[in-house]
Amino acid sequence: MQDVNWIALSIFVVLFGCITWLGFAAAHWRKGDLDQLHEWGLGGRRFGTLITWFLVGGDIYTAYTFIAVPALAFGAGAVAFFAVPYTVIIYPLLFLVFRRLWHVCHKHGYITAGDFVRGRFGNRWLALAVTVTGIVATMPYIALQLVGIQVVIGALGISGTGLGADLPLLVAFVVLAAFTYSSGLRAPASIAIVKDLLIYVTALAAIIVIPIELGGFGKIFAAVPPSKLLLAVPGPNTTGAYSGYATLALGSAMALFLYPHSLTGILSASSGHAIKRNAAMLPGYTLMLGLLALFGFFVIAAGVDKLPEYAAGFKQFGSNFAVPALLLHSFPSWFVGIAFAAIGIGALVPAAIMSIAAANLYTRNIHREFINQNPTGKQEAQIAKRVSLIVKLGALVFILFVPTKYAIQLQLLGGIWIIQTLPPVMLGAYTRWFNSWALLVGWAVGTFAGTAMAVATKLTTTFPLVVGGHTFPGYTAVYTVVLNLAVAAVLTPVFNAMSSARAPADETVAADYHA
């Protein structure tokens, strides 16, 4: 690997130091009693339109996204652009469905999806299923954020084996754990602002400078092999790459706001109007993500992967090294420092929110439901803070001792698992028609079938569904959530007829779901 890049490293360290200070100082921002769970874990629901924009943006457009999407474009070509339609169609869902959820959660003081399901359906086991799915799907996601940090640290020239190589990651982890513990959601919210400014500067500079260096977009796309330039046109009797692309976008979109960290970002908003405005403003990030995806083609055109100085990086990190190598190749060291800091800090923001979201879930829907039913506010906040530490420690151990490949595969499975909570959470925002036990069976069937299909396809995203001689390759998550819904719909009248007991009461009323 190349030598240590001292200028870039210094700038990286200075910027990291700044956000560490900011993370701790955030405890005093819009000050509230951090011994209350909704203050620590939701920032007191005090964030207006602009802060929500930064927070949710930092939450869903993560460092890993900025590394992995261009890496996919570099490796696989056009299919990587599914991230664009995916992040186009999430916003109508935010506008319609999640605004309703914001209102009902605000009204009843719900902090998690588990709280909502418990209140709506009165079934603690269904709430437990939603909770456990949320925690399990989030864990590998946190681990992947640490991979993002690992890649940029490696690209700064710090390499080797043993403790020395892992030390920077450990330091980043301790910083993250400490400010999350002391400041709660206020820390990632304030850091997200800095991180996004850095990311926007980096992306804008790169999208202008690199194409000029490479002789224009025409030349760049001419260097891309034709097989990568477009989706393959499907042959006879199959919908081929088209249905794969569309279902990947659709399934990812349906899953996104079901992730605990996305919901935490939404629920911390101060009003339903802030959510609606954000549905129109957040596509700003989508635009940037689309431009970043093009970086994968810049890498091909610049031939960075063939240069000897980056060979070791590509060997260690695979195509995830594409973006760091491109930045190293195209920019002076001081700017590389800023860009890498943007990616590194960009990993801390979602990692902090994810660990807070997982901690909220454990505290509210496992501890309070099954262990101590009457905690004081202080006890509740205390438990959540400790769980956030345990969750992050788990992610760190995972990254240090388990090959990255498994984190990626688990995250893929996580998408299939989390979408199984769509019927109780997203449809639950509109209707209570479903029997809660039928929803639970649907969840179990969907989760089992999804896992089995993913294993059968050797942990790739698309499953080749064959119906009457036609093949419909599609995202496993979409097929299995349809199965989940079908099971829940068929069993609902059956279970209703079998049980003479009245369904448990719904805490919510129709008026709770809008302003």
Binding site: A78, F81, V84, P85, T87, V88, I89, Y91, P92, F95, L96, R100, G216, F217, G218, K219, I220, F221, L229, L230, L231, V233, A241, Y242, Y245, A246, A249, L250, K276, R277, A279, A280, M281, P283, G284, T286, L287, G290, L291, L294, A510, Y513, H514, A515
Partner: protein
């Protein structure tokens, strides 16, 4: 604003803009082509980026047109 009151939390015809947004984004045959290029960028890429902007405008229109 009696009509708006009645529509509260219910369906609005403005939501059809969301349907258009979905339909176009999820129909790859529509944009899976190289020509026409824009400053050297194939249609597949620039159209989808343009669609991001169009979708944001649609959402803003729905925001201002619906009241609740």
């Amino acid at each position: 604003m009696i009509g708006a009151q009645k529509k509260r939390g219910g369906w609005s015809w403005w939501y059809l803009l969301f349907v258009i947004q979905f339909a176009v984004a999820l129909w790859p045959p529509f944009y899976n082509k190289v020509e026409p290029t824009l400053i050297g960028i194939p249609f597949f890429y620039w159209f989808q980026l343009l669609w991001v902007i169009v979708s944001a405008v649609f959402t803003a229109i729905v925001y201002f047109a619906t009241t609740d």
